[in-house]
């Protein structure tokens, strides 16, 4: 193992900054596991006690507000970095052979992360969470034949009740983590075995330059990044503690500012603009839902569909599709919030990566390392 670590290297080139996104996602996942275990000690997964137990954590338990805020903030940052990691791997076409399986396990881990987000959102049993779960679990019911069964399976009955909270809790703290450990373990193992992919435009550059030893050079850089991430996370959690909102009431109208988590916003907005009606027995609302399902499947299969990158080393069509998807998602998210904040977030992340890449580039050229 140590011998392996000693011989492992990371290529050096002008896009090398993107290699840090995966490690960053992993860091926030570790924070999730640790803070999640702590929250488990006080949280009670029933409709009558869930809200009160989170309230207890936020008000009475020493540093409870901090642990819960860290958990919520870290979850969002984890998803954000997972998005960045996925996008950067997609656009640099790092899924090229022999890394197809690395991509597939990465995608599955990403879907599991979204599952964590969805199941965790309900647990505080507040108004927003209640309606988000009502809508989210109703969505599969539009699928022909098996839809109703899936909805009942997710909810643990006909409606979103205490059975749903205990079920989501089970998924959130046991089933999903167990699956995640396997998938993530495989993903990391594959990354280690196959090494880092070099983006085609940087291939020459990476050949010219001496690769960086993973241990300790690259690991220390990763560690420094995590230290900064911890600082940002702690500042966010301390300055903007996560709100709890109003307790869910199954007999009250949905609140006017109802919205899902930001990373489901573009789907939410798409559902909102679909008109009512049906075509050939299929309700219109099922069309985007089936579309998103299909898109997820296609995303998973990208390495097997993109043959251009194998033959010619480039695939402009896939790049264009990716750009359209990102623009669509960012635009609908911005529209959903009636704010340009999501656009700024993406631009900010882009600039940050560019600065980071530039700093590394300068440093490497300056003979350091």
């Amino acid at each position: 193992m140590l011998e392996f670590a000693r011989h492992k290297t990371v290529p050096v080139h002008r896009y090398a900054a993107i290699y840090y996104f995966g490690g960053m996602t992993l860091f926030f996942f570790v924070v999730q596991v640790l803070t999640g275990i702590l929250l488990m000690l006080y949280y009670r997964p029933t409709a009558t006690e869930a809200f009160e137990s989170v309230e207890l954590i936020m008000t009475n338990v020493s540093f409870g507000w901090l642990i819960r805020s860290l958990h919520s903030w870290s979850a969002n940052l984890m998803i954000f970095f997972a998005f960045l990691h996925l996008a950067s791997v997609y656009f640099t076409k790092a899924y090229r052979p022999p890394r197809e399986l690395t991509w597939v396990t990465g995608c599955v881990a990403f879907f599991l992360a979204l599952g964590f987000g969805f199941s965790g959102y309900l647990l505080p049993w507040n108004e927003l969470a209640f309606f988000a779960t009502r809508v989210g679990t109703q969505i599969p019911s539009t699928i022909p034949v098996v839809g109703e069964w899936i909805m009942r399976f997710l909810r643990g009955g006909e409606r979103v009740t205490t059975a749903t909270v205990s079920r989501f809790y089970g998924w959130h703290v046991a089933i999903l983590p167990a699956l995640m450990v396997v998938v993530l373990g495989l993903h990391l193992l594959l990354v280690q075995l196959l090494g880092m992919s070099v983006p085609p435009p940087a291939a020459d550059e990476a050949r010219r330059r001496r690769p960086m030893p993973f241990f300790p050079h690259y690991a220390l850089r990763d560690f420094l990044g995590w230290l900064v991430a911890l600082g940002v996370l702690a500042a966010l959690a301390a300055l903007f503690p996560w709100e709890l909102g109003e307790k869910a009431d199954a007999f009250a109208p949905a609140p006017p500012d109802i919205r899902p988590e930001w990373y489901f916003m573009f789907m939410f907005e798409t559902l909102k603009v679909m008109p009512g009606g049906s075509i050939g027995g299929l309700e219109y609302e099922a069309i985007p839902i089936l579309g998103f399902g299909l898109a997820a499947l296609l995303l998973l299969l990208v390495p097997f569909l993109d043959r251009g990158v194998v033959r010619r080393g480039r695939s402009p069509v896939f790049t264009a599709v990716g750009v359209v998807a990102v623009v669509y998602m960012v635009a609908l998210t911005a529209w959903g919030y009636r704010s340009l904040a999501p656009v700024y977030a993406v631009l900010g992340a882009g600039i940050l990566v560019w600065l980071f890449a530039w700093a590394i580039e300068r440093h490497e050229n300056g003979g350091g390392g």
């Binding site: 969505i139 109802i258 009512g276």
Partner: protein
Amino acid sequence: MPADVTPGTIPDPDRRRLLNWFLGTSFGALLASIVYPVARFLNPPEVETAATNEVDAGAANDPEFVAKGYKIVRFGSEPVIVVRVGETDFRAFSAVCTHLACIVEYLKANQIIHCNCHNAQFNLQGQVVGGPPPKPLPPFGVHVVAGAEGSARVIVSRS
């Protein structure tokens, strides 16, 4: 060991097949005996809900009715929206939006039943007038009866 099988020779292929079949089926049975109860366990049980045929939604001049123009009442385990159109004119519908099951409210100023989740709009007949819902809101029966001490009460029933 049968007399015709000597050590070092190939055993009877029929017997091998039989043994494999037993091994295979018993392994299959073992798997099935684990998977079946687990699958059944995961499928949530039907919960009996008391049959409700009539619910008292309160006095016709209930301040909530007068101020907001509507009330959401528990009809068994389902929410039902009761809208006050006139002093004695009430309408009742399932409060579960036919789009993706959020709970609707009544916007008195626009006389529209509205769902905040995806901007669904229904008129006072429960018909869809805007937004994504595929079906009208299922109606409930509603009538006003004289209660004790001369107060009128709104009674919701399955239509």
